[in-house]
Structure formats: structure tokens, C-alpha cells
Symmetry: C2
Subunit: 118 residues, 2 copies
Amino acid sequence: MSLPHPTADQISLPIVLAVLGDPTRLAIVRYLASKEGVPLNCSKFLDLASKTNLSYHLAKLREAGVTRSEAVGTSRLITLRRDDLDRRFPGLLDSVIAAADGDPALPAVGVSEAEVSV
Amino acid sequence: MSLPHPTADQISLPIVLAVLGDPTRLAIVRYLASKEGVPLNCSKFLDLASKTNLSYHLAKLREAGVTRSEAVGTSRLITLRRDDLDRRFPGLLDSVIAAADGDPALPAVGVSEAEVSV
DNA sequence: TCCTTAGTTCAAAAGTTATTGAACAATTGG
DNA sequence: CCAATTGTTCAATAACTTTTGAACTAAGGA
């Protein structure tokens, strides 16, 4: 582990809610949840935002304690901190993801604007 | 009903999360949840923020679809839109409120700074 | 009617967050 | 070593959010 992460008990509810309240970050979290166990690198999310902007949003998620980023080579392997989140805020992540999955208007990884309207 | 409210299906997940991501608004929602069924007026929340600022936060909650405000005389009776929220986002409100209740560091209605530290 | 109570609106200021491009580091493969 | 790949950092800007005080409206009671 390379970058600074909060410990599980430093994770703050309002910060997590505010961080998940951004559609780009919510899309990242949904995708991580859908690929649980598979560490992903940033390039997976390039259809959501520019590389620089993604770096910003991924840092927000990491600093909030929602994700964990591990440096491996030139990549960052990103995983959802599901265990920590479930322990701190039981049921929260599941209900957020289920609600997001039920909303076709939200941006999602691998679903370009074109694909949506076709 | 006097003021503009979104319909249940206009309620947006990211907006609700962002709105609940503010500690003052989270305290309002927790208090409304703890007094469910009892319509409250704004004065209940005056220990959280100034009257003007409260008006701003309560408008945010209403516009997001989290609360309903009804004008009765010079008062606004405020209630939580639990049915609508539970239908749109099952389990979300309960997990947020349970998580907030478990965090003594969060501001709460009727718990002044003095009372906390004494 | 006049005063009080309850809350809103407005404009300004302050603070925060999001987005961008250019420049930078670090690793890996040829 | 050189070039490509992967992602970060920085500074600037744009855009939004929060907070404030003063002025206002509308209802209710004396």
C-alpha cells in the first residue's frame, strides 16, 4: 500500500455520502462493486472523465475510505473497501449500489452516450 | 402543500446522497426520523444553524425530495418523505440513519456543544 | 390596527469542489 | 539507453455551495 488511506474507524459518514453524491464517483464505485475481488486500474474509467480528473476523483474516493489504491508497477490497483464500509455502515453500500443500478439515467463505466441512446 | 417538491420518481440518488452529505442536513433528517409522524417546524432546528441558513438547508432537503414542507399559518410543517425514499431507494434511509446514530461526533438536534463535552 | 412570530428572499462574501492543460515521475519493454 | 505507458502534481480557472445580514411577507394575537 503506497498512498494514504484512512483506517476503518476514521471513515466518516457525511464524507462518504458527499463523495458518493458525485455521479462520476458513483459510477466508479458501481463498477468496482460489479467486479468485486478484481483489482482494476484507472484506465477502466477513462470513459467517465479525463485522466487528470479521474486522478482527482479516485483520490477523493481513497481519502474518504471508499476505495483502496495500491501501486503496482506504473499502475494503481483499485479495490472497493467493502468490508470496512459494511462494518462501519451496515447496508449502506448495498442500498446505494442497488439504487444506482436501478437508475438508467446515471453514467456508468462502459456505457457511452452513444450506446445509451442506440 | 405550498412549496415546490419533486415527485417520487424525480428524486435523484446522487442529489439525495450529496444533500445527506452535509452534517447539518443529516442532523435534521435524523431528528425528523426520530420523530416520525410528528410534523415539526423550523424552530426545532435553530441550535444547528441560523434561521437564514436553516431556511437554505431545509430548501435543499425539500428540493431533493428528502422532506416535505407544508405551510400552516406562519409555520412550515416539515416531514420526512420516508415512503417515497424507501420506494425509490430501499434500505438507504435506514442505513444512513443507523450509521449516523452510531457516530457521536456528528451534530444532532438538542445536543449543544456544551452538553456534548460535559 | 399594531406588534410579534415564523420563515423567506436577496445580494454579497467566503469557502469549496470540479475541470483543464502542461509538466512531471516511475516503471516497463525494446 | 530510449520510448511508451500509467498515473500524479501543479496552477489556473470555473462553477458551485455555504453563510451572513438586512429587508421583507404573511398570519395571528392583543
